[in-house]
């Protein structure tokens, strides 16, 4: 079901935690919110779930307004599934009973069919009688997802769903989860602090900062066309290259870059993949750090002015710290932040 937040505000005591969040998530899409801790991501989820009452604005689910300043539909009747951080599985109930918990309104037969479906869907068959404490972290995560999906909610919310898992399991689960949610065509909003999880899951990616949603776009656009410096700094690696614009050219330490709009002073966002290693290039700089990442090297090179930029090179280009590295600009579009 479609989700829309219109200018929502939330205040706890004197602190304004949300200061006007706008967001639209189309039915069946997966949205992901990222941002520094304390930026209001979890609060946004709690407001959507009905665990908190917003102080201004409107939350609309499908064609019904579920929250506004003077009205808040209770969480227990909102038909929103929420996988809470750390799962909050009931420790005294078995896996099957945890999943069954939200199915009270179904007939006995329907209930058992649904539980069996969920167990099968999430690969939990054979574990139905276990208690949560006897499961691995990944299994607990699946049970929590199964429990939230079982009542067939109109919307699924997930708060840091992978925070307890190790890196390998995360990558595996991210892929599985996207496939599962897309298969069920359930609208989902996920909060995470990990941009790799975010890129893997999202149809729509949002960056929250200080109670506001600074950008809400496709993951590609958030990465390549960040709207604010904060977004550019948070998502992906990158360096700001000072530039002076004149006559359709940006003059930078790495040379001139064509841009009809070039004017005044600005910073250009330089991603590691905008600089390609090229031994024949006239632009050379000294390597001050390098990180071997398996498939490639991420070099940090220092320009004569002292500015350090990142350059990506294939794994077999093994250069050492102190050597000079040749590279050239290979950006296909420009991200400009004016300095006014």
């Amino acid at each position: 079901m479609r989700l829309e937040l219109r200018d929502i505000h939330f205040r706890r005591e004197a602190t304004e935690i949300l200061r006007g969040v706008d967001l639209q998530l189309e039915a069946g899409d997966i949205g992901v919110l990222v941002g520094p801790s304390g930026c209001g991501k979890t609060t946004t989820l709690r407001c959507i779930a009905g665990l908190e009452s917003i102080t201004r604005g409107e939350i609309q689910l499908g064609d019904r307004v579920v929250s506004s300043a003077d009205h808040c539909l209770g969480a227990e009747v909102r038909r929103v599934g929420y996988v809470l951080q750390d799962n909050a599985l009931f420790p005294h109930l078995s896996v099957a009973d945890n999943i069954r918990f939200g199915l009270r309104s179904l007939s006995r037969d329907d209930r058992e069919t649904r539980v069996a479906d969920m167990l099968a869907l999430l690969g939990l068959r054979g574990l139905e009688r276990r208690l949560p404490q006897d499961l691995s972290g990944g299994q607990q995560q699946r049970v929590a997802i199964a429990r939230s999906l079982a009542p067939q909610p109109d919307l699924l919310l997930m708060d840091e769903p992978f925070s307890n898992l190790d890196a390998r399991l995360r990558t595996e689960l991210v892929g599985e989860l996207r496939e599962l949610l897309k298969g069920l065509r359930i609208t989902t909003l996920v909060v995470t602090h990990d941009q790799h999880d975010a890129f893997g899951l999202a149809d729509r990616l949002g960056y929250m900062n200080d109670g506001r949603l600074e950008q809400w776009d496709t993951p590609y656009d958030v990465y390549h066309r960040p709207r604010t410096r904060a977004v550019a700094g948070f998502i992906g690696d990158g360096v700001m290259l000072p530039a002076i614009g004149k006559d359709g050219l940006w003059q930078t330490e790495l040379g001139a870059i064509e841009d009809p709009a070039a004017e005044g002073s600005a910073d250009l966002l330089l991603r590691p993949d905008d600089l390609l290693h090229d031994d024949d290039s006239p632009t050379q700089a000294r390597i001050v750090a390098r990180v071997f990442r398996g498939a490639d090297f991420l070099y940090t090179v220092q320009l004569p002015s002292g500015l350090r930029v990142l350059a990506l090179a294939p794994s077999h280009h093994d250069h050492h710290i102190g050597e000079t590295l040749g590279f050239r600009l290979a950006n296909d579009h420009l991200v400009v932040f004016r300095r006014d």
């Binding site: 779930a49 665990l51 209770g74 969480a75 227990e76 009747v77 929103v80 599934g81 929420y82 809470l84 951080q85 750390d86 909050a88 599985l89 009931f90 420790p91 005294h92 918990f101 939200g102 009270r104 309104s105 404490q133 429990r147 939230s148 009542p151």
Partner: protein, 517 residues
Amino acid sequence: MFARWRASLIILLAAAPALVVLVGLVGAWLTPAGDTLQHQWRYLLPDAGRNTFILVMTVAAGAALVGTTLAALVALCEFPGRAFFSWGLLLPLSIPGYVLAAVFAGSLDYASPLYSWLREQFGWQWPSIRSLGGAALVLTLTLFPYVYLIARVAFESAAQRYLEAASLLGRTRLQATREVLLPLAVPAVLASTALVAMETLADFGVVAALNVDTLTTALYRAWYGMFSLVTAQQIAGFLVIVALLLLLLEHRARSSVRMREAGGIALQRRQLPPLTAGLATLFASTVLGIAFVWPVAHLLSWASTHVTADLDARYWGYFVRSIALAGLGALLIVSISTLFVYARRDAVSGIVRTVAPLSTAGYAIPGTVLAVGLYAPLTQALPWLQGTLLVLFIAYVTRFFAVGHAPMAAGLARLPTALDEAAVLLGSRPLERWQKIHWPMLKGSVAAAFVLTFVDLMKELPITLLTRPFGFETLAIRVFELTSEGEWERAAVPALALVLAGLWPLKWLAGRMSHAT
């Protein structure tokens, strides 16, 4: 810290008294019953056994009901006075059961001024407090705080997120409480109720003061009145079996409590509607009023009329002896606990590990049983022990070892061996390690262990009564003797001293709880 064999020896020594008692009791059961026992079995024990059973069941049910209700109210709801009641409901712990019994007997008895006045003015009548029902009431009022305290912690640690998870799955707050929070708290309620049952089973002071025949008074009579050691030991053996079963229940329930602690966001309390909130306040004040305020007020008024007449030089004697016994006993228990927790950390042998829990099992053994079970074999083996305080101290250590052991074990648990290893690698010597690492980190636990055992020993009655040298009187003994002579009002001064002493560890407990939240 210790060589392995020394560690094992310390643990075996700490477990020894409990072993002696158990072996002695098994021996007594194997001895053929004499005439006195047959007489007892036929005429006295069926009644005493039935009374004990009814008493234990009633008090366990009453304390569980009152304690859990209050715990749920304080942990989950907001009502006038909640902040006060959250610690105030622990106050009844400071009143020894036999003191409350004395107050109730003295003020509600048929001949008491209050009862006479109510009878003449309003024609009110009520059943005598000196009955099984009266004993159950008094014990419930002194023991419910155990359930309250443990259940409240369980409710609070269950955490907001379980309530939220339930509400997202379609439950109202009330349904979520019933379906999630109550089942989660069951092990805690069960564990604390087992504790209450153990205390009730072991109680001697209350039932003796209210003239109710139970197995502990039967044991006391067999020992003191009929001088039949075998009879006493056989009754004791029965009590120990029941007590150990209760201990087992408590242990199993508690281990599942640990698995269920959740952490996370603290519980958001729900504001009760005005009428319900008023009822909650009324309920909590009534319980606290009957169990603490009213008895203390009574003791104060009695004491004020008798303090000048009674507070002579003899009282200083009772007072000094009480402090000396409790102080020495506590010192002994804390020292042994300290050695014990270190030894247990170092000991790896399987047998020693199996025996180690026995040393804390003494807590489950009723004081009367311990006194008889230790006094008989020890004085038979070493006749010169008769008339000294040594048996008394051994019995104290056996019974109250667990009280001192708990904070010490918790303290040492915060001091992992990795810290020692780090210190050793930095070239630190054993004495230096103790001074710079262990003592600073453990001194809080040592203080806690001392205060808790000190106060328990001050209030202790049956062991002191049964193993003291002839004519050796303490405050607790004085209260007991005056009560059994019906001189309740004169018992007020020593009783108040005991209550005051009992307030001391509560302050510590309350401080710890506010620290935890």
